[in-house]
Structures are given as C-alpha cells and as structure tokens.
C-alpha cells in the first residue's frame, strides 16, 4: 500500500503544484468570479457547515457547489470527512454527488475512503439493480489498493448477477481492478472467460473491452464464442460493436488462411505490391485451392450490415475489417459508406480521409468512381484540403489525369498558400508517375514560375528540379528559361535549386552557365547561405568542364567564400579549392575531382506520404499518427495453414439454437455470390470444407439430407430402387446425367456434397422451369418416383411430410425441427436442410406450373440463362400478426391471361395458432388475378400461391389485401421494371433491324465503368438477366452482348445492348416507351456497376 500511495501522491503533488500555479495568476475575469473561492478557508468552512446540517436540501446545495469546484479543477480535499459521512444518504442525487467526490479524492485520502466501503458492500446486495450497479462502479473506481480483495469478491459476485446491466458494470470493473493491481490477472481472466459466454448483447461489448485490456493474447478464449459474437454483433450497442469488430479482425488474422491468393489476378496496379507475398504463398500451398472457412465468411457477412450504421466509428471499423480480411474483390463494398462519412464533421473527415489515402495507394479502383467527392472546396480546413489532394494524386491515371490537372489548376491559385504549394508538389508527382503528361505538367509548372506568390514559385522550382532529374536531356530549354527567371526569383530554396540544376547540367547550357556564375559572383555576399553553397558548387563544376571561361570567376568566388561568416561555407570553399585547383599539395583525391563532383545522381522518387502507412491497421490511432501508439496490437500475418477450425464448435445443444439460422442465411447469400461459376460452386461451398473433415458417416448424413430436396430425392429414390425404373420413364438427357452422378455419389461422398449444393439444385430447377416439356415429364416422373420412395423405408420422417405434401400439394409442413434432431451429430449440413425445406415448395409448384404451360408458344421460352430468384417481402410477420408473405417473380408467361405478370407468393404462418380462410381481399386499380382461398394454414406451415397482375407496363405498385378470418392486411407489391418484360428470341440480324428502327428519342444510353473481372460477356449477361427478364441474343461479335424482350402488357419491343470498351461499357436501351427505357437503363446501370 505504501508504495502505491507514494506513486499516487507523486502525481497528486504535481497536480496541486500546477493548480497552485494557476491560482496565483488568475486572469482578470476569473479573478473576479472566483475571488470568493480563492480566499477560501472561510468559504469551505461554510460548505462544511452546510454538509453537517440536518437539512437534506442544504447538504445537496453544498455538494453541488463542491462538484462545481471539482469541475473547475479546484481542490477541496479538506472536505473529505464531511462529505464521506453522507455516502449513506437516502437522497439519491446527494448520494451520486458524494460518489463523484469520493472517486475524485479517494486516491489521496485512502484511509478515510475506507470508511465508505461498508456502505457499498451493503448496496451491492440491494434489490434495485441500478443501486447494485452504481455501488460496484464506485467501489471499483476507488483506487485504494487495500480493498483489492473486496473488489475481487464484488466483481465475482456481480459477474453472476441476474441483471445484465450489473454484469456489464462488472466487466468494466475488471479493467479497473487490473489497472490497480495487475497481479490479479489470472483470476480476472477466469471471470472474463465466464462473462464471454454471456449471451446478453449488453455485456458483450464491455467484456470484449476487458479482454482487450487484460489479456488480448488469450485468443483461445474467443474460439468458443466466435460464432456467438458474430451473430450478436448487429444487436450489440454501437460502442461495443467497434471493440468487438477490431478484436475479431485480429482473431481472424490468426485463425484463417489468406483469401487474397486467387484474386491477385484481378488486381491491376498493385500486382507488384503483392508480388512478394504472392510468391511466398504460392510456394506454401499452391497445391490446394483456396476455400474460405465458413466462419471467415460468417464474420464478413455479419459485419456487412453495420456499414449502414449512423456511428462513424462503427462504419470505419467494418471498413478496416473488410480491408484486412475480405477477398480483394469484395473490399470495394465499403467504398460507398466511407465516402458517405465525408459528409460528417471535420474531425471525422480528417480520419476517414487519412484511411482512404492509405487505401487508395494500394487499390485505386475502389475510389476512382468517387473521385469528385474528393474535390476541394475553398472552405475546407487546410489539413482536409491536403488530404484530399493526396487522394486525388493517388487516384490519377492516364484516363482521368486531364480532369485532375484541370482541378489542380484551380487549386494552384488558391489563397491558402500552404495548400497551393502542396498542389504544386502533387502536380510534380502526377508528372513523374504518368509519363504521358510529364511534358504538360512541366510546361504548366514553368508557367507557374511567373506566379506572384513566392512560395508557389519556390515549390515549382523544386518540383521542376526533381522532374528534370529524371529526364534531363530533353529539357535544356526549360533550364534556360529558369536561368532567365533567376533574377526575379527571391526565395533562397528556389534560387539554390536553379543553381544546382545549371551546375548539374552545365553541358546542356554551355553558354548560359558562365553568365549565371558571373551574376552570382556579383551578388555573392548578399545571398543566403544555401544559395552561397550552391554558387560554390556551380563554380566548381564549371571550373571542371569549362575552365577557360570561368577560371577567374571561380577563384574570385572561392576567395569570397574563404572569408565568409558562415563556417559551413568556409569549410566547403576550402574543400573545393583543394579538390579542383591543382597545386603541389593536392592529394590523390584531386585526380578524381571530376568523378566526385559530376557523378550521375539518382533521381529522387516522388512518393505519397501515405506510402508506408499500411503497416498499421487501418482506423487505429497508430495509423492516424503514423507512429506506433502505446498498446497498439499488431495484426499478425495470415497463417500458412489454418489452425484447427473445430475449436470454434460449440456443444451441440447450443449450436443448434445459435447458429442454424445464421448458416441458413449464409447459404442463401452464398448461392447469390457464386451462382455462375460452376466449378466454384462446389469448392466455394462453406459446407464442403467442414464435411471434408468428417468421417464416412457423413456421407450417409448427406444422403438422408438430400432426400429432403424435391428433385434429388425423387431421383435418388429411383436410383435406389433400380436402374430399369428410370430407363422406363422417358427422361431428358440432363436429368439422366444427374442420375448417373447420383449413383456416383453413393461411392464418393465428396461428390455428394457437390450435388447437394443448393446452387446446382437451383440451377436445375430453373432449367426445368424454363423448359416446360422437360419439366412436365420431370414432374410426372417425380410423382411416380414418389411412390417408390414411399415404399423406401429409409427416411420415414421425410416421407410423412412428403405424403402430406402430396395430398395437399400447395401446403407443406415445415420440417426443420425434426431434421435438426436427426442430424445432431453433424451440424454442418443442417442449415442446408432448413433452407431446402423452404425451397421445396416453390420448386414443386414451378414444376406444376410448367406442366400447365406446355402448350404455350415456344418463342418466348428462351433466355434459359439461370437467374437467382430474389424474393421480396410482402408482409412482415410482425405486421401480419404471424402471417408472413414473400413474393418473387417466377418469370414464366402467365397462364391467366396475356399481358399479365406471374407472381408467386409464399405464405407462412409463424404464429402458434391456425390461420383460417386465407384469401385475397379488396384489390385496387390494376387487374389482379388472385388465388383461391386457402382453408387453413397450420402453425409453421407455408403455402405457395400464384397470382397474376397486369401492371400495364408501369412500375406502379399493386395494392390488395390479404385476409384471414380475423384480420385484413393491406399489402402493396411493386415490380421492378425488369420484371415487366418477357424475353423474346431474335437473331442478330433482326436485332440490328429493330434497333435501327428505334433511334433518337427511343434510345437511351449510358457508360458504366466496369471492373475487369466483370468485363466479359458471361458476367454481363448474368447480371442483366438477374435484373431484367430478357433473352440473350446470340452474338457473333466479341465484346457486345445483346438482349431482347417485350413488354408484358403492350408487347412493345425492348432491346438492350452492352458494348465493352476497355475500362467501361456502353449501355444502350432502345424502346418506344421512353419511360420504361430510362428506368431499365438505370437498373441495368446499377446492376453492372
């Protein structure tokens, strides 16, 4: 204790000394105002009296005044005894103020502070959670070492408190205790471990904070909580989010392998930057393809929504997480949000711009489209202006340099001279980085030499010097020009630079150089030191190259220098004289004079000041200062081999509850992402990796799970029974292939995962849906198959549900619960199931739809490019009192009538009671073909219904009511313009002809910047087809993709073409309906960008 109190007293001593110092020199106004307090003995006696009075209000008044004193930084420790007496007061405000005082002075008056401890111990047992919590807060804030055991006990108790608020306070207290007595670390870690398991969002942030402060190296404590933290993250309070995200960033860098390998090919500019890393990685694991750990993906996915947070710190921390953890092509999703932060306060702008500056060096493409957001306004603060300038310079490339230079021209004239000078430097950097504009920049800079402001001129000279050094030969006229301007330039640095230039390249300007020297000889004595030094330099160089003309001049200058006041100049003169003037004393060095003075000098590199900032984690204080701050924790490099990932598995019972839904989400996201790359679909699947590590039994698990899928089940069922069965049923080629695959799957479990991947399943379904002939047979066979599978005794549970489905084809029981029970021992596949079971119904129905459609004309049945079906919410379960409805566009011609758009609605009953007589109520405006009413929907069941709406070729929303027996819900369904179309097949010639007819007013076009990975026809067509229901027109030309469709209602043709140019694409939409055209163009643009 004594040592501790000593150290504290130390601080206190300094403190009071300073305060005394301040009080002795009060400013005039403060003197008047505080005069009462500074002559204070009497005054404080007065306060003491008030505190000892019987009246609560008097005491309160006194305490308020004391707190006022504390706030002003005035000392009043002598009141301590009087104040502490009131710690047990009933009046809560008085009590709180006493707490404030106590926390402030306890350190200085340790013995007296102990008097209050028993009060807190009592309060810790209070029934009111606020009182318990605040007692713990104050108790732990009293920095008195003797009470450490008491604090420890209190924290232990509070960490198991029923109230999460008290547990949160306990987490804070851990840090306080640790800073008071680091010896308690081990015990505290135990408490942290316990609290990390806490499921309350209130506690999560605080305990992670404690973890970061007490034991940031104990990564092993995080393993079991990783998934929980990811899933809770969205609901944690914003401050906690920041702390958790930064901790998880560090965690991920130690646990997952680098996702950057494969994407390296896509990177344009930074290839060289990553080269070294690249090679190393290539060597270490070039054999295995990169598979992202599902937990890694989970982390990325669960942080993404936070980009929309209103808290700038949260947005920034998500951005740095993506920067440090995400595959390179995914990082750019943070761009928009970062640019948004630039609208915030000046201080926020400053930090965000710093981070963008670092990012923009490595990855120009992220911010190029937002270049204009970094244009400088004359009202910006200087440091903001300079950061923006930095970013603009980083973003400059051949394509945009002319725009940037035009901006710079405005900046150079700025009244803010610091900024103008910085602009000159920026121009210099552009000139050296982009060869095409070097001459233009140089000319511009030369023009600036006649600028009136000398800082600008000086900066220009220095920059010109640097540029010329890189390519001196071609620019002797510029040197001449500068020599001519020499008389007018007064800034010493600039004069020195010109002299150096002339000396260095004196052989390019043989006539002018001696003349300049002559002038300098005249004014030598009046020059600044730096100019004198360069004059001596110039003289020496000229003497060596042109001694005939300059011998006398040089000697004169050397003589002047010999008697200069500055010893540097005297030194230099002496040295030069010995070096160049031959005499008997000159040593061996003189022989090398020419080589010493006229050695070729390397050109300076003009680099960004942010070049090496990336060694710090983005968003940190260290990054902002460009220096390692106290307590900075390095981000480790990616491990070459991922540590065991099973450490994150949590006990079965918990994990189902906690992360089944999340993985289910993952699945759906996943299928969106990787939909079009077939090989990747198998490899990239998160489940794949987890299943790989499993024993053979998992193959059984996955079979039983695939049985839950509509098509696969039926087919594997038939595959199970015997070969003849399916050779009987006339099936299409594709489905046959599938079956053979299925058979293989029995032998190779690895294939089974590939098969069961919902991506492919989706694919098949869509193929089936869009080719009615096939699907009709398919579904007929599936119904026959169902018979067989029913006789199969393997999967009794599923069959139950299947038979139900058969009896009532549109109502399907949600079987999630049963399945998870079945698959308890291998959790990885179960999320799949949960999605599948909901997928089941649409696929069934689309098959049925296909059946009824087999007679429709085939010219519309094109565009078999699969698209991910995006479902939109029609009625949220909260608003629908348990009835949830989602709709999606199946993109099939409507069976109810021409001109209508088919829509499927998935109705789910999430309440715990039956919903009866579900039907469509009052419809408004548009012609809507409803569905026939559903008599009853069981809890947890869902039903898929088809409706059709004639939108009359507008994106106006269709409003109608969903009714149950008791309730009516008004819903509105708004189509995107792409869904109003029906694809049309066309030959290329027809397309050209039709497009030729639709020129002028009927045509809209736009240019979209394209990332290189998207710049081929495959991703373009998939993106377009995702947005709009259009058919791809076969094309003979490389680099042009065409699409054709017609409007559902009026049948007017809509044509679109995307023409690839190097870094962008020309997008053209032609249709008679100009409104549709422009809306479509906009949608396509956003889809492609």
């Amino acid at each position: 204790m004594s040592t501790n109190s000593l150290s504290y007293n130390d601080q206190g001593g300094v403190d009071s000394a300073v305060e005394v110092g301040q009080e002795t020199t009060p400013t005039s106004s403060a003197g008047a105002a505080f005069g009462l307090f500074s002559s204070d003995f009497k005054k404080n006696d007065d306060l003491k009296e008030m505190l000892e009075s019987n009246k609560e209000s008097m005491k309160l008044e006194a305490m308020k005044r004391i707190v006022g004193l504390i706030a002003k930084g005035k000392n009043s420790p002598e009141l301590f005894p009087a104040v502490v007496k009131n710690v047990a007061s009933k009046n809560i405000e008085l009590k709180k103020l006493v707490y404030v005082y106590l926390v402030r002075y306890a350190e200085e008056q340790q013995d007296l502070a102990l008097l209050s401890i028993s009060t807190f111990q009592r309060a810790l047992k209070d029934s009111n959670q606020l009182i318990r919590a605040s007692a713990l807060r104050v108790l732990s804030s009293i920095r008195v070492p003797i009470i450490v055991p008491i604090m420890m006990l209190a924290i232990k108790e509070a960490s198991t408190d029923l109230s999460p608020y008290v547990r949160k306070t306990a987490a804070h207290a851990i840090q306080k205790l640790y800073s008071l007595d680091p010896d308690q670390k081990e015990q505290l870690i135990d408490i942290i471990e316990k609290l990390l398991k806490d499921k309350s969002t209130l506690v999560a942030g605080s305990v992670v904070m404690a973890f970061e402060e007490v034991c940031p190296d104990r990564i092993d404590l995080i393993h079991k909580n990783f998934r929980k933290l990811c899933n809770l993250l969205v609901d944690v309070e914003e401050w906690g989010q920041v702390v958790i995200i930064s901790m998880l960033t560090r965690y991920a860098r130690t646990q997952f392998t680098s996702p950057w390998r494969e994407d390296a090919n896509f990177e344009e500019n930074n290839a060289s930057f990553y080269d070294s890393n690249e090679e190393r990685k290539e060597q270490s694991n070039s054999d295995a393809p990169y598979i992202m750990d599902p937990d890694h993906r989970l982390l990325l996915r669960s942080t993404k929504p936070l980009l929309q947070s209103r808290n700038t710190a949260v947005v920034m921390s998500v951005a740095q997480l993506y920067w440090h953890l995400a595959p390179k092509h995914e990082v750019s999703i943070v761009t928009k949000s970062l640019v948004r932060l630039l609208r915030s306060h000046r201080e926020v702008q400053y930090i965000v711009l710093q981070n963008i500056a670092t990012m923009s060096i490595e990855k120009k493409s992220m911010f190029e489209p937002y270049m204009k957001s970094f244009y400088v306004r004359s009202t910006d603060a200087t440091h903001i202006k300079i950061l923006k300038l930095e970013i603009l310079t980083n973003l400059a490339n051949e394509a945009n340099i002319s725009t940037i230079l035009r901006e710079f021209q405005t900046y150079v004239k700025s009244q803010d001279k610091v900024f103008a000078a910085a602009t000159v430097q920026a121009i210099g950097r552009c000139a050296t980085n982009i060869a095409e504009v070097t001459d233009t920049c140089l000319n511009g800079l030369v023009l600036l030499l006649s600028n009136r402001d000398e800082t600008v001129v000086a900066e220009s000279v220095v920059v010109i010097k640097k540029i010329l050094q890189t390519q001196p030969t071609q620019h002797s006229d510029i040197i001449k020009h500068m020599a001519k301007l020499f008389d007018n330039i007064l800034v010493p640095m600039a004069r020195a630079s010109i002299l150096w230039l002339i000396g260095e390249y004196c052989d390019h300007v043989p006539k002018i150089a001696p003349d300049v020297l002559r002038k300098m000889a005249k004014s030598f004595t009046a020059e600044e030191d730096i100019v004198k030094l360069q004059t001596v330099n110039l003289a020496a160089k000229l003497y060596l190259t042109n001694s005939k003309q300059t011998k006398l001049l040089t000697q004169y200058i050397l003589n002047l220098g010999k008697y200069d006041q500055n010893y540097d100049i005297r030194d230099r003169t002496r040295f030069i004289r010995q070096l160049i003037v031959p005499n008997e004393k000159s040593g061996p060095l003189a022989k090398y004079a020419r080589r010493i003075l006229l050695a070729p000098k390397p050109a300076p590199l003009l680099e960004s000041a942010f070049k090496d900032r990336d060694r710090f984690q983005l968003g940190t204080l260290s990054h902002s200062l460009n220096a390692k701050a106290v307590g900075y924790l390095e981000l480790s490099d990616w491990p070459a081999v991922a540590p065991d990932q099973s450490v994150r598995n949590v006990e079965v019972a918990e994990q189902i509850k906690e992360w089944t839904p999340s993985l289910a989400k993952e699945r759906s996201v996943k299928s969106d992402d990787k939909f079009y790359s077939d090989e990747e679909a198998g490899n990239g699947s998160p489940n794949n990796s987890s299943e790989d590590g499993k024993s053979l039994s998992s193959s059984e698990g996955s079979t039983s799970e695939t049985e839950n899928e509509e098509e696969t089940t039926s087919q594997s069922g038939s595959g199970n029974s015997d070969e003849s069965e399916h050779s009987d049923s006339s099936q299409s080629d594709s489905s046959k292939k599938k079956k053979t695959k299925k058979l293989q799957q029995k032998k190779k479990p690895k294939h089974s995962t590939k098969e069961s991947d919902s991506d492919e399943e989706d694919d098949n379904r869509k193929a089936a849906a869009s080719s009615p002939v096939v699907s009709s047979e398919d579904s007929s066979s599936s119904s026959s198959d169902e018979g067989t599978s029913q006789s199969d005794s393997d999967s009794g549970v599923h069959q139950d549900t299947r038979s139900k489905a058969k009896a009532k084809p549109k109502v399907v029981q949600n079987t999630e619960k049963e399945i998870t029970l079945l698959d308890l021992d291998d959790f990885a596949p179960d999320p799949q199931i949960s999605t599948k079971s909901s997928m089941l119904s649409p696929s069934l129905l689309s098959d049925l739809d296909g059946l009824s459609l087999s007679s429709t004309p085939s010219d519309i049945q094109v565009g078999s490019l699969a698209f991910p079906m995006k479902s939109h919410e029609l009625l949220h379960r909260m608003t629908g009192k348990g009835l949830a409805a989602q709709y999606h566009f199946p993109r099939q011609p409507c069976i109810y009538g021409n001109g209508m758009v088919a829509i499927q609605i998935n109705l789910t009953n999430t309440s715990d009671r039956k919903l009866e007589n579900l039907h469509m109520g009052e419809k408004s405006g548009l012609n809507i073909h409803g569905f026939s009413s559903i008599e009853c929907l069981e809890p947890d069941a869902s039903a898929l219904v088809s409706i059709a709406i004639d939108f009359k070729d507008s994106t106006q929303a269709a409003n109608f009511q969903l009714c149950t027996n008791d309730d009516q819900f008004r819903v509105s369904l708004q189509p995107s313009v792409g869904e109003l179309l029906l694809p049309v097949t066309m030959t290329e010639q027809d397309f050209h002809k039709e497009q030729g007819n639709l020129l002028g007013m009927n045509e809209t076009s736009a240019t979209v910047p394209m990332t290189p990975e998207n710049a081929s026809s495959q991703p373009i067509s998939s993106k377009v087809v995702t947005v709009a229901n259009m058919a791809v027109v076969p094309s003979s030309q490389e680099g042009i993709v065409r699409f054709a469709a017609k409007l559902a209602s009026s049948g007017v043709l809509v044509l679109a073409s995307v023409e690839l140019q190097d870094a962008s694409a020309q997008l053209r939409v032609s249709t008679e309906k100009a409104v549709i055209g422009s809306m479509l163009l906009r949608d396509l643009k956003t889809a492609l960008a």
């Binding site: 300094v14 300073v18 609560e56 209000s57 706030a71 930084g73 405000e93 709180k96 103020l97 404030v100 350190e107 009111n128 606020l130 807060r137 732990s140 804030s141 920095r143 608020y165 306070t169 804070h172 207290a173 840090q175 904070m209 969205v234 609901d235 309070e237 914003e238 401050w239 930064s246 929309q308 947070s309 209103r310 700038t312 710190a313 928009k336 949000s337 640019v339 948004r340 609208r343 306060h345 201080e347 926020v348 930090i351 306004r377 004359s378 603060a381 440091h383 004239k413 009244q415 009136r452 968003g619 204080l621 260290s622 902002s624 200062l625 106290v630 307590g631 939109h872 608003t879 008004r970």
Partner: protein, 418 residues
C-alpha cells in the same frame, strides 16, 4: 479508453475538466494550446495531437474545444464520435451547447458525463436513457424540486437499458398523437467559372418528430426508394426489411431523432436550382476592382427560392467595397474580409443584381485568384432529388395518429468558382 476530458473556450480557458481514471494534470493541455497557436484558425487544429505521454483527440464545436486525453491505442473515430455525442446530448438537454450554459448547469453536465462513460468506456449514450437517469432541467421542475426537495436523478434503471429497443422508453403517453417527418435535402455542388457543374450531389436526411403513445411500430414507404443510393439508419430501423423491400420499418424513439440519412447516386443528374452570372475583376493599376453579380433561377421545379444568401471571402487586399444591390442587403466585414449579400426571396421577374467597385490596398499586387462564392438557399415543399414518401403505416397501437411530411431543399456546400 478515454481518460479525461477538458472543455476549453476560445479564450484558451479550461472551464471544465472530468477524469474517469486517475487525475491527469491540466498542464497536458499546453500541448494543445501549442498546436492551436500553430494552426491559427480553430478549424485548422489537427484533431489528433501527440504528446510525450498522452494523445489528445479534440473536436471543435459551438466555439468550444472538447479535448480528450487518451493513453493507449484506440480508434480515433471512436473518441471523435463520442465527443460529438456528448455535444449533442448537451444540446439536447439545454437547447444549446455553449460555455455559459455548461457553466450554469455544471452539476447536471457532470452527472451526465459520469453516466455516459464508465472507466473511459461509453456506458449510456442514448438520449432517452439518460433523460430517465438525469432529468433535463425545466423551470417547473426546478421550482418543484426546491419546494419538495425531490431530485433530478432517476432511482431505477431505465427500462430502455435492458430492452431490445433501448432507444424507446416504456409507458410513453400523449393526448395528441403525432408523427412528423422532415425530408431535408442538401445540394453539394461546385460550379465553375463558365457556369458548368464540376460536381454535384444530393445528401438527404429524414428527421422525425414522433410523439406517439405506447409502442407503435411504424412503416414508412417511399414512392421511389431506388433513388437512394447509400443510406445510414438510426439503430431502430430494421435493416433486413430495407434490404428486401426498401421500406423503413421501425419502432421510433420518443421525440426528435434522425431517422436516416441518404445519398442520391451521382449518376442521376442533379438539378441546380439557380445560376449565378458573375464578373469580378481586379485592375492592375489604380488599386481597384469591379464586381457584378446576378442571380437567376435555373431548375426550381416551379417553387420559389428563398433565403438566398451569397457570401464571398474576399482576398486580404480588398479594403472596402462600394456596392449597390437591386434587392436585399449587402455587408462587408473588413476584419474577416467576408462580403455577405442577403437577397431573401428570389424575384423571378427582376433578377437581383449586385454591382459596384472594390478598393484595394494601394501598392500591393492584385490578387491572383478571384474569390469563390458560397451560396445558401432554401426551397420549401420540394425534395430536389424527387424522393417522395408514399405512406406511413402504424401497427401495434389502436389510435389514429396525425401524420405529416415536409420537404425542404437547401444548399449544402454550394460553391461557385470565379
């Protein structure tokens, strides 16, 4: 994390200090004063300052510097955001955040700071939670308190602190249930000399004032949600529903709050409501200059332009001006060198014009650059991007609330280069 906080006024007086861990001497602020001196203008003070033992992160707001002392690594935005939150809370409590108000209410400010941070880590920053813990001062309450001796401090844990909707307190009651939404859009633009748009974008916010009884669940639907390119939400907004349906579904906080802010994509052409014809020239001889500015309507969507103000930061050499305005008033502040021309409502028939001569300091060279004009304007009843709220639905409560939406377009950072 945050160790101490000092509030400093523009006269470099430390008028409040608060420590969350052991006390740090206020002499640490000397480093700040040094930086402040170096920076000249308060806006140029670097937000992060390094001292031998500490790091100072500061914000400048309402003429007060909030200087926080940090000892170890922490995301600087974390601190900056928190300091702004403190300033906003003070504003919310006292109507303004100024030195005199803070000095008058020092005890409440201190109590607030005590609640907002525990050991340097934010504890409660939601305004409605704080308001339950520490009641904002009103004349009535202070009178009642003096008579009855009751206190300003809540005795129980605010319900919001534990619930899943921490932003709303339970048991809200109003006799008039109303929900108002202000859609405010700001045009940020740079117009070049010739009148061409260098860059322009629209930033919008939706501020809400919701006074509804109970726990209403609101859904705000837009006519054209696709216009919104980038959005950020109050935590109450359900992000998933926005993702899937582009509607704002939320249980609102009680009272005033910012529901969302958005950015309208730069691809859409931004309508610039006015044009400015300007001619500012300085003469080489005679140390004088001429100024001629005319403002006219461009794309106003048929709505009147109001509150039009043109301000010009003149070069330092401009000593005085001799100008006449056909409309509005003009004033030249010779110390700050700012010329403000307050036009008011833009008259479509007779365009406002400001014309006259400038006199320069004799002997000094004419300024390199012409000053740029900052424009401020306001258009009522119009959201310039075309964003429109189509409906507001309420669930979960029986009564019928009174609803209203107001649109305003303003100039944000609207600059005309000359």
């Amino acid at each position: 994390m945050i160790h101490s906080l000092f509030l400093i006024n523009s006269a470099a007086d430390i008028f409040l200090e608060k420590h969350w861990k052991s006390v740090i001497s206020r002499s640490v602020c000397d480093y700040f004063f040094e930086a402040q001196e170096k920076a000249g203008e308060p806006n140029n003070v670097p937000p992060v300052i390094r001292t031998p033992h500490h790091y100072l992160i500061n914000i400048y707001r309402d003429k007060i510097f909030f200087v926080s002392v940090i000892q170890t690594e922490v995301p600087p935005l974390f601190v900056i955001e928190f300091l702004h939150r403190v300033a906003e809370t003070l504003q919310d409590y006292f109507g303004e955040c100024s030195e005199s108000v803070i000095k008058d209410n020092v005890v409440i400010v201190y109590e607030l700071l005590e609640e907002m941070l525990d050991n340097g880590f934010p504890l409660a920053t939601e305004s409605n939670i704080l308001k339950e813990l520490i009641k904002p001062p009103t004349i009535l309450r202070s009178m009642v308190n003096t008579i009855t001796g009751s206190s300003n401090v809540g005795e129980t844990l605010p319900t919001g602190q534990l619930s899943t909707v921490p932003w709303r307190r339970a048991g809200v009651k109003y006799t008039n249930n109303e929900a108002y939404f202000d859609v405010i859009e700001e045009i940020d633009a740079i117009i070049d000399k010739s009148g061409a748009t260098v860059c322009a974008e629209i930033q919008g916010v939706i501020d809400a004032c919701v006074k509804l009884t109970g726990m209403p669940d609101l859904t705000l639907t837009f006519m054209n949600p696709r216009l919104l390119d980038d959005v950020s939400f109050h935590p109450c907004v359900r992000f998933k529903r926005w993702e899937s349906e582009r509607v704002l579904s939320f249980i609102p906080p009680d009272g005033n709050f910012r529901l969302m802010s958005y950015h309208v994509s730069a691809q859409n052409l931004v309508a610039i409501p006015i044009y400015v014809k300007q001619n500012i020239s300085f003469f080489e001889s005679g140390s004088s200059g001429r100024l001629d500015i005319t403002v006219g309507p461009k794309q106003t969507m048929g709505k009147p332009v109001e509150g039009l103000v043109v301000s010009i930061h003149m070069p330092k050499v401009v000593l005085s001006v001799n100008l006449t305005a056909t409309q509005g008033t003009q004033k030249y502040d010779t110390t700050t060198k700012v010329l403000v021309w307050d036009i008011g409502k833009l008259n479509q028939q007779k365009l406002p014009n400001l014309k006259g001569s400038l006199s320069l300091q004799s002997g000094s060279p004419k300024p390199e650059e012409n000053p740029s004009l900052d424009i401020d304007l306001k258009i009522q009843q119009l959201a310039i991007s075309g964003v429109k709220v189509s409906r507001l639905d309420m669930h979960g409560e029986k009564y019928k609330p009174f609803k209203g939406v107001k649109y305003i377009t303003k100039a944000g950072k609207f600059q005309v280069r000359t």
